[in-house]
């Protein structure tokens, strides 16, 4: 169940990343059309809430919330690395 919670948090983080146009462009190679960014944000928040509730159910409120924060921190890292991996090496934009 620990890893289920972690997985849900990572998927939630992915949805939150996709709700931002620059990360959506990186991960999917295209921007999400409206209203999908809002849907992704909603789903992301819902998944994070679900993970927090799952953590509290599994370990009690105190340890559950601490566990959820650990899931969120490391899960977001996983998504950031995914976006980095998808990013072309050369910077695209000129100033």
């Amino acid at each position: 169940m620990f890893w289920l919670g972690f997985g849900v948090t990572i998927v939630g983080a992915l949805c939150l990343a996709l709700s931002q146009s620059k990360h959506a462009k990186l991960i999917l190679q295209r921007e999400l059309q409206r209203p999908w960014p809002i849907v992704a944000r909603g789903v992301g928040i819902a998944l994070w809430l679900a993970a927090a509730v799952l953590g509290a159910e599994l370990y009690g409120v105190g340890i559950g919330i601490a566990t959820f924060f650990a899931w969120a921190c490391l899960g977001s890292w996983a998504v950031a690395l995914l976006a980095t991996w998808r990013r072309p090496v050369a910077p695209a934009r000129r100033r």
């Binding site: 620990f2 009690g60 340890i63 890292w77 090496v89 910077p91 934009r93 100033r95």
Partner: protein, 545 residues
Amino acid sequence: MKAQGFKGSFRQSMAWFHTWVGLVLSVLLYFIFITGTFGYFNAEVDQWMRPEQKVVAPEAMPTRQAMAETGFAYLRNAAPDATRYFISFPTDRNPSLYYYARLAEVGADGNNYINGYIDPVSGDKVAARETGGGDALYEMHYRLHYMPARLALYIVGIATMFMFISLISGIVIHKKIFTDFFTLRLRKGQRSWLDGHNISSVLALPFLLMITYSGLVFYTFDYLPGVAVVSMDISDATTEIREHLAPQFKPVEASGEQAEMISVRAILDAAFVELPAESVRYVSLENRGDKVAEYHIGQHSEGLSRGGALTKFSATTGQLLTDSYPAHAADVVFARGSLALHEGRFANIHLRWLYFLSGLVGAAMVATGMVLWADKRRTRLGKKGVAGSGLKFVERTNLAIIVGLPLGVAAYFWANRLLPIDLEGRADWEMHCLFLMWAASLAHASIRDLASAWREQVTLLALLFAALPVVNAVTTDVHLLATVRAGDWVRASFDLAALAFAAAIWLVARQMSPKVKQALAGERSDAAPVAGSRAGAPILQNRAD
């Protein structure tokens, strides 16, 4: 109207503050993060560093009563005059029975106690090599080394306060905290270091705030002695605080009258009518031999709090004295929760790994901040500018700290396997090896050109960790194959983690090779500069000065 600070706007002032507050004690903070992170696996590192310690399968583990008898029998032999016996039962993190006895007089070694480990099955003292183990590594994060513990406590306290201020000022200056939440652009010179610094601090912010704040809570009354002095009678302050924090541990004065002690087995038999045996963490005998002697039975803590329930029995009559205490005051509940969060003792093995990774992220945040500071100043100089001695010093010490400390840790593990078993002061020499390697790293960074020094030290780090399981296999019989076959996953995980770490470091080392850097520079050749940085300028370029 915009609020004005001492360096322009409020945000600019905070940026200045963040940079300098962070820089001044970054060396110490990096040290604290790296060594403290090992605390989440101190018992596991201990096991690896004591290869002689046998692992007992759970089904072969004796009952709590039998183990307590074994432990007390050992102590009666080893410390017949001791006034306090303490036995802590094996856990899934530590397979041995821990013993402690407070002696009536100071012993030949200058200590008024003895402690160590007993094999729970045979009852023999674990004849493990002398080593600092995981604890010595972990304790350095608040005791430092080669200095009085109290002085170290204050130094670490100041560094922690700096870190806390630095975190808060970092939040203030980070304009796009949510927009940049997942942003990590690698291979873009200074931009990458800034992203790395931002992402490691933003994503791990809850952990970093918690670990820093709770670190200060640990020694509140040492850091703020005035609170105790002004709020209570100075002579009673320490006692009152201790009783306020842990009323159950209020000491009982010995009566001076001798009395016969009831056996520990009888007491545990009585206790286990109400308590589940597996919930008991330790049993101790206080004021041993005295009429007022008591058995204390401590349980594992439940939930997010440090310290579990305590049940007391009279050691002379066997009567249950008390198993309930007044509820803790709100401040004590808060403090205990904070400390539990800091130590992560409640964490299962999976969460412990996440704690460990979060600790490394914290170290990465400090390290990227250090490199960023130097690289910004190097960028401002441009190609023709000559770096001052201050910048050169920081660049070289950055290497000696960021890579040198992990090199020292690797040397510490190597020393555990290679130093002669009967070497006097062996545990001290393990630690000396850590600092000698660290000093060697600094010397190397000082005499080599910087890019080569980075490449060589990172490569050496990868090699040292990759070869650690090999050294283990050559010098002990608990090598990776044997531990995997025996299901000793604690020791196997250590070897596997060393290999994984070596692989990750090897990838970093590869990025530093001239060929790879040349290829990357080619890919970036048409790239325009990112605002505030050189286009893809490699941070570890070969610097002649």
